[in-house]
């Protein structure tokens, strides 16, 4: 009689531990699923603003460069025209435009479009990587949860304790995202 009581007691203790472990895993699965949403929202909020700021910087630089080019063209034309006053006036404007460009490069020595675009690309890459790794972790933890439910002594009790296998994140079979993206670099 006491042996039976001991055996039942041990079984009850084991059930408690198993239940707690499965509860922990179930909550980690839910958390991991929501973490994907966290990354998606970050991408949604960050990327448009980042792209706009990059475009703004490129435009600023582009306008200054355009002013320099126009001033230089005007100065060349004036020089071909031969009128000394006009030549001096146009050269003066060119000097002013160049001065603005030098001030720009002195204040922002890294302000080349290519640097800014490089930073933007790094941000885009890390955002997509973070989304990808969140999905990977979600699948990893779902796998661990499902394994815990399906190993031998536990699988007899899992359904009784109220646990169902979780679903892995996947792309639907006919999803457009499965296609190879087309890379077209023509301007």
């Amino acid at each position: 009689m006491t042996v039976l009581a001991i055996v039942l007691g041990l079984l009850a203790v084991w059930l408690v531990f198993t239940f707690n472990k499965l509860v922990g895993l179930k909550n980690q699965v839910l958390n991991a699923f929501r973490q994907i949403d966290v990354q998606l929202k970050r991408r949604h909020d960050l990327i448009p603003n980042l792209v706009n700021s990059v475009k703004g910087e490129m435009k600023f630089e582009k306008e200054t460069l355009e002013n320099v080019i126009q001033a230089r063209a005007a100065a060349v034309n004036a020089g071909q025209g031969g009128n000394m006053n006009e030549v001096l006036a146009k050269e003066g404007m060119l000097t002013q435009a160049l001065g603005k460009l030098f001030a720009l490069t002195e204040n922002y020595p890294n302000l080349k479009s290519i640097e800014v675009v490089r930073t933007l690309m790094e941000e885009l890459r890390t955002t997509e990587n973070q989304i990808g790794f969140s999905r990977q972790f979600y699948n990893d933890i779902v796998t661990r949860f499902n394994i815990q439910q399906q190993v031998f002594p536990t699988n007899m009790f899992a359904a009784m304790l109220g646990f169902q296998p979780a679903t892995l994140w996947e792309l639907p079979a006919d999803s457009v995202e499965r296609n190879v993206p087309k890379v077209d670099l023509t301007v």
């Binding site: 980690q28 991991a32 973490q35 990354q39 490089r118 930073t119 790094e122 890459r125 890390t126 990587n129 973070q130 790794f133 969140s134 990977q136 972790f137 990893d140 933890i141």
Partner: protein, 346 residues
């Protein structure tokens, strides 16, 4: 073997090595207590001596049940562990003159991004990211729990590796944290210290006390016990002499297993074993030792900072005493994970 099988096999080997380590320690400690401190749980036969009233009385009836020597050595080991736990990370960072990674530098911003990505993949809080001002290529991780852990890379590594390889190296360091390798190696170091202590004491006792007074009560035991006890004593003396060497070999074997485990875990995090292969090949090509990192944290680095020449040799001594496995074996294991090399006997 794929990424999961390698991890299981490495964890099993580590447990076996730790078990052997602990048994060695117990053998030393128990022998010391038995031969020198009269620890005798089996209970010697009591000797009968004539007392004042004129009849025989059993003397020496209470056997020593507490192995004082073993317990003292264990306490010493525990103190070493606690010191490591509380002061470890700070000491290491200060000694390497590491500084925190800043967002202003694009290379360090990329490093911060990669650390965040790997912590997402591992499901752990992001460790603090530090940069060591050394032109050599190396990286290490330290920390007892994922909540307060640290990953540090050298400036040379940031300059030499591209993003994919940096991700693989950071994943390797993250795996050290994830697998609680600092705890394993600290336990191994504490056991090494405890064994060294017992070994040292045994040496002193032999020199100053002969075989010790605790043995005199053994004269009352059965007649056949004599040669057996002498044999045990001889074996124990051999253990004492070789214990420091054995314990070092065991600790280094554990360190090498954890390195393999970290490689396999890194491949599981990035799902890209070839990234780590190309990172290791670049690291191997840069042979210079990392002067900033000292021996205390050598076993936590991705490659031996004392100079990778010891990894190129594959002689007997190099195999047993290296903190890191040879690069060739690591690259081979990673290629097996990437299904680019057939496992032996396939």
């Amino acid at each position: 073997m794929n990424i999961y099988e390698q991890q299981t096999s490495n964890k099993r080997t580590t447990m076996a090595l730790l078990g052997a380590f602990f048994l060695l320690f117990l053998a030393l400690g128990a022998g010391f207590d038995y031969f020198y401190l009269s620890f005798d749980p089996v209970g010697a036969q009591p000797t009968y001596v004539m007392n004042a009233q004129g009849y025989y009385e059993a003397a020496n009836t209470s056997p020593q049940l507490v192995p004082y020597g073993t317990i003292a050595a264990l306490l010493f080991g525990a103190i070493m562990v606690l010191n490591s736990v509380f002061n470890g990370a700070g000491m290491v960072l200060r000694s390497t003159m590491a500084r925190r990674a800043v967002s202003a530098d694009p290379a360090e911003q990329q490093f911060l991004n990669v650390v965040r990505e790997m912590s997402l993949a591992a499901g752990l809080p992001a460790p603090a990211a530090y940069v060591v001002p050394d032109p050599d290529v190396n990286a290490f991780a330290t920390g007892f729990s994922p909540e307060n852990s640290v990953i540090a890379v050298t400036e040379g590594l940031l300059r030499t590796l591209d993003r994919e390889e940096l991700q693989a190296v950071v994943a390797h360091e993250m795996s050290h944290i994830r697998n609680y390798d600092m705890r394993v190696m600290t336990v191994a170091a504490a056991l090494m210290g405890a064994i060294a202590l017992v070994s040292d004491f045994a040496g002193r006792s032999m020199r100053y006390g002969g075989r010790g007074g605790g043995r005199s009560s053994g004269g009352g035991r059965g007649k056949g016990g004599g040669p057996l006890v002498l044999l045990l004593f001889a074996v124990w003396i051999l253990l004492v002499i070789f214990a420091p060497l054995f314990s070092r070999m065991l600790a280094m074997a554990i360190s090498r297993q954890r390195e393999f485990l970290a490689d396999a875990s890194a491949a599981e995090l990035t799902r890209n074993p070839m990234g780590l292969v190309s990172a290791l090949e670049k690291i191997r090509a840069a042979v210079n030792p990392t002067r900033a990192i000292n021996n205390g944290v050598a076993h936590m680095c991705i490659t031996d900072p004392r100079g990778s020449l010891i990894e190129e040799k594959s002689g007997f001594a190099a195999d047993l005493l290296a903190t890191h496995p040879p690069m060739e074996k690591r690259i081979l294991a990673l290629k097996m994970m990437a299904y680019q090399k057939a496992p032996a006997g396939a």
